[in-house]
């Protein structure tokens, strides 16, 4: 099964609230928005804290280490049984295990995919703005 590097590029739109996430991702860093008054991370980023309704937020730099939460192996040409595929997934940062981030899994054979496997955020490559996750291997 041919696995392509990432999903077909889709234009990313952002605003003042979501911009820091995408700017960090372009450098291969993971940052999450969190309430400045002690409440939880917010994903996607939002203006208000759903608990206290404050708009005071901080951006927390995370390690980029993740766990694979769930995934799907998507056919690029659904009418073609031999179609190449890409892997779309949700992964949870180690420091925010209840927060799920959409992305593509790269550098991983589909047979290796396993929910819970350790992943790391990789710097976006030319041609995609998607969050890219790759397995953490022993030799790395």
């Amino acid at each position: 099964m041919e696995v392509v590097a990432f999903s077909p590029p889709a234009e990313v739109d952002f605003d003042a609230v979501t911009e820091p996430f995408w700017m960090a991702l372009r450098e291969g860093r993971l940052t999450l928005q969190r309430c400045a008054h002690g409440h939880d991370f917010r994903m996607p980023p939002m203006l208000y804290c759903p608990e206290c309704h404050s708009t005071d937020a901080e951006w927390v730099a995370l390690s980029g280490r993740m766990r694979l939460y769930t995934y799907t192996i998507v056919s690029l040409r659904p009418r073609d049984a031999e179609s190449p595929v890409y892997v779309a997934a949700l992964a949870c940062p180690e420091e925010a295990p209840d927060t799920k981030i959409f992305g593509n899994v790269i550098e991983c054979a589909v047979e290796e995919l396993a929910i819970g496997m350790p992943m790391e955020i990789v710097q976006a490559s030319a041609g995609t703005d998607a969050a890219l996750f790759r397995p953490v291997r022993g030799d790395r």
């Binding site: 077909p8 889709a10 979501t18 996607p44 769930t70 998607a130």
Partner: protein, 387 residues
């Protein structure tokens, strides 16, 4: 005490996607409304209210319908927000119109024509926004992709097997095989299922509902009016829409807490629905569950209490949803998977027929039929019809 009932049903024939051309969505809706009024034994011009859900199909609105049908005045015209989640809840809007004294006969209408655009690609057509960029950037652009992510998590968490999803597809197709209105009537086997091409693993083509065209209309009136009408009334025991913050935008959020992620989002609807009807899952004789994707039938069986959460897979694999011999027959008409997909409203029609005792695949001695709206973006909804 029942307040309202469904007293008339009408449908067009069902068409494969785009094949209803050159008919228009409005013409098809008028056909269905005329048929529903005739079924109810009322003049079309007696209709004085309209209720809708998910107008994604486009092309119908109250003004055009009453111009076309010569209806002099309406006292109610409203739709649930969201999409197919409101397919059962739209009946509750009609009941609200009647309870409020706004209308005497409310038509609940859906008309779908997918010639120019497809539901399956509904999210891909969206322009990029700060919200949708989070999933579109990862190539998650179709309802089936979200369904696959949720199904995979259910498999991981509870050991659910693809055989369970297959059983939903196989049993539903078997039901459709004796329904002349169904578009897919050729029975399928487990081998056929596993040979079906993967679209978004773990979901193959046979896990996806059909893409079809057609229109459906139903007439709702007050219970005391319904008693003296042409058809045996299908009384509304309860109808609820809405949803739980833990499901939120559902599919497109992706951040449901783990307890809710691999669910249909319907647990709060089920709780309020059964409480309002003073019924429990064991009282339900037939379940018409919104089946856009097979895993959501498994998860709705859990969320509506037919089996414990996490046990939906073994439950269906044991034959529980079979028309013959099952403990809770599901979608005897063939559902969205094999009869037609008119955004789920066909399940309400089947519920009325099961209550009347006139369904093609009639379940014996039906007193209560459960109908669910589509697990997806809020609102979700549910309906119990009773004899």
């Amino acid at each position: 005490m029942h307040r309202a009932a469904i007293v008339g049903i009408g449908t067009t024939q069902y068409y494969r996607r785009g094949e209803s051309l050159p008919r228009t969505p409005r013409d098809m809706a008028c056909d269905a409304i005329i048929a529903a009024a005739a079924d109810a034994g009322i003049p079309v011009k007696a209709i004085d209210g309209f209720a809708y859900f998910s107008n994604y199909g486009g092309g119908i609105e109250t003004g055009g319908l009453i111009e076309s049908l010569g209806i002099p005045e309406v006292g109610f015209s409203a739709s649930t927000t969201g999409g197919g989640g409101g397919s059962a809840g739209a009946i509750g809007l009609a009941q609200a119109a009647i309870a409020n004294g706004d209308s005497r006969y409310v038509a609940v209408v859906q008309s779908l024509q997918q010639a120019k655009s497809r539901f399956g690609a509904a999210f891909a057509r969206m322009l990029p926004t700060p919200d949708n960029s989070f999933y579109r950037s990862a190539g998650v652009g179709a309802p089936g992709h979200f369904a696959a992510l949720i199904a995979r998590r259910h498999m991981h968490k509870y050991g659910t097997r693809r055989e369970a999803f297959a059983e939903v597809a196989i049993s539903t197709r078997l039901n459709a095989s004796t329904n002349p209105a169904a578009l897919m009537r050729q029975p399928i086997t487990l081998d056929d299922y596993f040979a079906s091409r993967m679209i978004a693993d773990p979901l193959c083509k046979l896990d996806f509902c059909l893409e079809t065209d057609g229109a459906v209309a139903m007439i709702v009136t007050a219970a005391d009016v319904a008693r003296d009408m042409a058809q045996k009334p299908a009384y509304i025991a309860a109808c609820k829409h809405g949803g739980d913050r833990n499901w939120g935008r559902g599919f497109m959020w992706g951040n449901m807490p783990d307890e809710y992620f691999s669910s249909s989002g319907q647990r709060s609807i089920a709780r309020r629905l059964y409480a309002a009807a003073d019924l429990r899952s064991g009282d339900i004789d037939v379940a018409l569950l919104y089946d856009h994707f097979t895993p959501f039938v498994v998860m709705q069986l859990e969320d509506f209490g037919f089996c414990p959460v996490g046990e939906g897979g073994p439950f269906v694999e044991q034959g529980a949803i079979r028309l013959r011999g099952g403990s809770i027959p599901v979608n005897p008409h063939g559902g969205n998977l094999s009869e037609a997909y008119i955004v789920g409203i066909t399940h309400v029609v089947e519920g009325v027929r099961q209550i009347r005792g006139t369904a093609i695949n009639q379940v014996a001695d039906v007193s209560h039929a459960l109908i669910s709206g589509g697990p997806g973006p809020m609102p979700l909804s549910g309906l119990i019809l009773s004899t």
